[in-house]
Each structure stands twice: as structure tokens, then as C-alpha cells.
Amino acid sequence: MEVVLALAIGTLAGSGIYLLLRPRTFQLIMGLSLLGYAVNLFIFGMGRLQTGAPPVIDAVRGSDPALYADPVPQALVLTAIVIGFATTALFLVVLLASRGLSGTDHVDGREAENP
């Protein structure tokens, strides 16, 4: 499981960084989203990987912490997702405004001159 998660995070982060370095705004926003997913998975992994362990204490299982997943990273991921969602939406608006004002989707607001 660790290997799969690590590979997934690596692939997402790698593609995200590649897209971030591209000159089009749409690629930029896709890159940021992919990086966001990678980071969220990473935070999740920081709570240690466990299967079948709930994060909330219930009466039947008792109070042994080994039976439960760490709830803090899950709460952090939730916050990070919400914040990431909001900033992506905001960035989308800026992207459209830039496209509308400059007539191009280049990040600098004008096309690079072709040699």
C-alpha cells in the first residue's frame, strides 16, 4: 500500500510541476490542482496508513488508540481541500479576466514572439 500511495503522490506532483512550468493559464490551473491533490494525499499519509480503522472513538471498540486512525490529518486534509477549492475557483476567475482583457491565454498576457 505504501508503494502505491507513494507512486500516486509522485506521479501527481511530477505532472503538476511539469504543467506549472508551461506558459498557458489553463495548464497552470491544471498543474496547481494536481499538485493540490498530491499534497492532500501526502497530508493523509502523514497520519500513517491503516485500513479499516475509523478516526472517531466508538464504545464497542474501546479506547485503545492503536485501533483508530489519527483524526488530525483527516481534519487537516478537509480544511486543505476547502481552501484549495476556494483558491482554485478564484484563480479561474482571474484566468478568465486575463483572457478577456488581453485576448490571449499566455501567462504574461501577450504571446511570445516567434523566432
Partner: protein, 539 residues
């Protein structure tokens, strides 16, 4: 009496949040009501911040024992709940941001507020993020407040719209979104190895780490440091700053003068908490010192090479950040007090400078164009064009507006470059004096480099600003700009505040030295947040 006083630390976060929500209620057309609400909220924040400052310094009867106030949100005891911590540093940053915000807000009410929608709520949310970031004692909470202030700042950068702002704003947003992701990785790594997000408990836990856990923690801390350096505009992470600040509306740029200092604050806070456990590179030592010097050099080159006044102001913000970083990286801890004095003075002066520049350049075509574009984008051109255009703007033209502007510009130049008699000089003088006083421990080379960097950057500032000042003020082609009291007042008030800081340099410096002493007393901070920790009850 004490019943509500002990809830004082939460007010700097709650007040602006509440004000921002309430400001959405009246329609955009009810300017008077909205302006009054925003002003009241900001004034109240200033009052609360001053009371907190008085309490933290022991001038007023504090509602809590000891120097450091700890406010547990929801009554959850510190390692489990989120805490707000008011110490001397947090209190002085609160006062600084509230004072600067009040001036910028008053200034923007005269004209700039109308260049777009939802300016006032965004402004309050920015203040909420700032105040929260200064107060919080929890790493993840710090991230959240950073996001709040950044989200508001994205909106404010774009205030007034126009191609220039959208272009610069987009770069600013991408850089900061990326930095936020790095912040998350850092917070997750640190939580993963230490199992806590509480900053005080963190300082304790790190000492118990060893082997690869310690390596992972160092990596996390390194990433955290990089995030703070991006916010503090350290070279080579600062290319976004001049264009973003230059493109933003002037009152927005004026409040942004304090945004870079949030990064500096974060660095200082974590550096002092981690000092006993050998903090990793970005938080101190030679590495930070040379980074600061490089930042000063980059800023100085920018100051000399730029043709536009606003961009010069942006580069001066970078120079002041670099000065602070170099001071914190300098051997020993004696530079911290003077550095904090310099921080306050430079933030106030840059804020005033952004306003003065806009007033002085008014009537010259560039800024008028910009405003016309923003009015067009919001469809105000049709019916209000004649009354809203800056050059025909009503209001009393202050006689001798040029004389006032010249005086204000001149004062700002003296302040920013560190010439007597203003507080900029006192700050730089104290920094160099402290640097000369520590040599036994510090390498001679460092002292020389530090002094040279401070003096040369000041000289470059004088050269660039006098060159551009001549062009702006002795331009016979232009009409005298018309000012309103609402605009001239805040800029003058900020300059006067700096003058007061220079005259009250003795008491102020005592306060900042006490701040530095309490900062480096990590045990007091940890003891205040986690009272049980002293007895070794953990583990």
C-alpha cells in the same frame, strides 16, 4: 470587569470578521453607512490592539498572570485545542497593522474605494488574516490565517481591474498558491514526526527527536522557512513583488507594506522557538545573513534601475525585508530589538510613501489612465464620468498642495533611506551600533558587510528618489494636483507617527529590547502555553 477583558485576545480576529460580514448587507450605493462601519471597526481594532500592547508591557493591569496571555478557544486546554498567544511581539504587530490599516482605509475612502466592488469587506478580511497570523499559537491555524489574508489580498490586488493589475495579480496569485502548497507539506511533515501542531509543544518535542525523525523534521522546517522567505520577499524568491505592488491600487499597496513583514514575523517566531534545538538553516545563522545581504543587493539594484516611482517603492520594501533578514541572521541576539524598531518605522514609512507617490503623480497621465480603465470596466463611465474623473474631482483643493506633497515626499525619502532626523535614521543607527558592539562573537567581515549593505542601500535610495523626485516635482508642464483632506491627512499622520517614534526613541527602544528578551526566553513562552510542561508531566 475582568470577565470580558480576558476575552480581549480574540477580538482582533472577531471584529474584522464581523465587520466584513456586516459590510455586505448595505448596498454599494450607501457609501456613508459603509464607510462609517469600516472606520468604526478599524478604530475599534486599533483600540483593542493598544490595550493589548499596554497589558503585554505591564503598563495596564493585565487580565492574565505574567507577560504572555494565552487564550484557549472554546476552553480546550492547549495541547488539544487551538490557542491564541499575545506577547510583546504579537501586540506590537497588531498595533502596527491596525494603525497602517486605519490610514490606508481613510485614504481609500476619498476615491479609490469606488474603483471596484467589495473593497471594504475584503479589506476587513485582510486585517482578520493579519491579526490572526500574529496571534495564533498553532501551526496549522497559522496556515489558515495565511490563506485568509492571501485570499483577501488576491481580491485587493485586482481591485480596480485593468490589464496591468490582472497580469501582475495572476503572477502574484500563482506564486502564493504554490507557497501555500509547500506550507501544507511542511505542516504535514512536522505533524507526522512530532505529533503536534501546537507551536509551544512543538518546541519541546523536537528536542526528543533523533535519527531519521529528526532529519524529516529538519526537512519540514526547511520547507516552512522557504515559505516564510517567499512571503518576506527574500532574494531569489521576490520577483513577483515589485510588479504586484506597483500595479495594485495605492491604498492597497500601502497595507501590503506589512504583508512581507508577516513572513519576517513567522521566521522570527519559529527561530526563537527552535533556538534551543539548533534550528535548521532558514531560521538563522550565516545562511539567513547572506540571504538577507543578497536581498538588500537585489533591492538596491532594482531601486537604481527603475524609472517608475511605484516600482522604486516596491524595491525599497524588498530592501527593508533584506535588512531585517540580515539582522536576524547576524551572530548574537542583540540586533533583534533594533531590527524590530526598524521594522515598525519602515512599514509606516512605506505605507505613507505609496500614498504620497500616488498624490504626487496625479495629473500626470499614467495614473489617470489606469483609473479611467477601471471605471470603464465597471461601467461607471456613462453617467458619472464627469464627476468621478480624478482631475475634475470635487472637494476642497488644499492651498499649497505642492508644498505639502514636497514636504511629505521629502520626509518619506529621509525615512526610507535612513537619514536624520526621522526614525529611519534611528533604526539604522541602532542596527549598525549593535552590529559593531558584538564583534567578539561575530566575524569582523560580517560587521563590515552589514554596515556597508545598510549604508549603500540608503545611498542608492537617495540617488534614485532624488532623480525621480526632480522629474515629478519640478515638472512645469503639469497642473497642480488637487488633494482632499481625507487623502492628505492619513499620509501626514503616518509621517507624524514616524516622527513621534523618533522623538520617543528611548522608550520605544526599551520596549523592543524587552520584546527581544522575552522572545529569546523560549521557556517562558512554552511555560505560559503549557503550564503543566514545567513539571515534566509529558511522556
Amino acid at each position: 470587569m475582568n470577565g470580558w477583558l480576558q476575552h480581549l485576545p480574540i477580538l482582533p480576529v472577531l471584529l474584522p470578521l464581523l465587520a466584513a460580514a456586516l459590510l455586505l448587507l448595505p448596498g454599494e450605493s450607501r457609501r456613508g453607512t459603509r464607510a462609517a462601519m469600516a472606520l468604526t471597526a478599524t478604530l475599534a481594532q486599533l483600540a483593542v490592539a493598544i490595550i493589548l500592547l499596554g497589558m503585554a508591557d505591564g503598563r495596564l493591569d493585565a487580565a492574565w498572570p505574567g507577560d504572555i496571555a494565552v487564550y484557549a478557544l472554546g476552553g480546550w486546554a492547549p495541547p488539544f485545542g487551538i490557542v491564541l498567544v499575545v506577547d510583546r511581539l504579537a501586540a506590537v504587530m497588531l498595533v502596527l497593522s491596525a494603525a497602517l490599516a486605519l490610514a490606508a482605509l481613510t485614504y481609500s475612502l476619498a476615491r479609490w474605494e469606488r474603483a471596484g466592488t467589495h473593497y471594504l469587506p475584503l479589506f476587513q478580511l485582510l486585517l482578520m488574516g493579519l491579526n490572526g497570523a500574529f496571534l495564533t499559537g498553532d501551526l496549522f491555524n497559522l496556515f489558515v490565517f495565511f490563506e485568509v489574508l492571501l485570499a483577501a489580498s488576491y481580491g485587493l490586488v485586482l481591485h480596480g481591474s485593468g490589464l496591468g493589475r490582472v497580469k501582475a495579480g495572476m503572477h502574484y496569485i500563482v506564486v502564493n498558491l504554490l507557497a501555500s502548497l509547500v506550507f501544507l507539506i511542511a505542516a504535514a511533515l512536522i505533524y507526522g514526526v512530532t505529533g503536534t501542531l501546537n507551536m509551544a509543544e512543538l518546541a519541546q518535542r523536537v528536542a526528543q527527536l533523533s535519527g531519521h525523525e529528526r532529519t524529516l523534521f529538519d526537512l519540514g522546517a526547511l520547507l516552512l522557512g522557504i515559505v516564510f522567505l517567499v512571503k518576506a520577499a527574500a532574494w531569489p524568491l521576490n520577483f513577483w513583488l515589485p510588479s504586484a505592488y506597483g500595479a495594485a491600487a495605492p491604498p492597497v499597496a500601502a497595507v501590503f507594506a506589512i504583508l512581507t513583514k508577516v513572513g519576517v514575523y513567522g521566521l522570527l517566531r519559529f527561530a526563537t522557538l527552535l533556538q534551543d534545538v539548533d534550528a535548521p538553516a532558514p531560521f538563522g545563522g550565516d545562511w539567513l545573513f547572506y540571504c538577507g545581504l543578497a536581498t538588500i543587493a537585489a533591492g538596491t539594484v532594482g531601486v537604481l534601475g527603475t524609472q517608475k516611482l511605484v516600482r522604486v517603492a516596491g524595491f525599497l520594501v524588498i530592501v527593508s525585508s533584506g535588512t531585517l533578514l540580515a539582522a536576524f541572521g547576524f551572530t548574537g541576539t542583540t540586533l533583534t530589538g533594533p531590527a524590530l524598531y526598524y521594522l515598525v518605522s519602515s512599514v509606516l514609512a512605506s505605507g505613507a510613501f505609496f500614498m504620497v507617490i500616488e498624490m504626487a503623480e496625479r495629473g500626470r497621465t499614467a495614473s489617470a489612465d489606469l483609473l479611467a480603465v477601471s471605471f470603464e470596466a465597471f461601467g461607471l463611465q456613462v453617467k458619472e464620468a464627469s464627476s468621478e474623473h480624478p482631475d475634475e474631482m470635487g472637494g476642497v483643493a488644499i492651498p499649497a498642495a505642492m508644498a505639502f506633497l514636497g514636504l511629505a515626499f521629502f520626509s518619506c525619502v529621509l525615512l526610507l533611506t535612513g537619514l536624520p532626523p526621522f526614525s529611519g535614521f534611528v533604526g539604522k543607527f541602532a542596527l549598525i551600533a549593535a552590529a559593531i558592539a558584538v564583534p567578539p562573537a561575530a566575524p569582523f567581515l560580517h560587521t563590515v558587510l552589514f554596515g556597508a549593505a545598510l549604508l549603500l542601500s540608503g545611498l542608492a535610495g537617495v540617488i534614485a528618489l532624488s532623480r525621480l523626485g526632480v522629474r515629478v516635482f519640478w515638472d512645469s508642464e503639469r497642473p497642480t494636483p488637487r488633494l482632499q483632506w481625507l487623502e492628505a491627512g492619513p499620509a501626514a499622520a503616518l509621517v507624524l507617527l514616524c516622527t513621534a517614534l523618533a522623538f520617543g526613541a528611548g522608550p520605544a527602544m526599551n520596549y523592543f529590547d524587552a520584546t527581544a528578551r522575552s522572545l529569546y526566553d523560549t521557556r517562558a513562552y512554552v511555560g505560559a502555553v503549557l503550564p503543566a510542561a514545567d513539571t515534566g508531566a509529558t511522556e
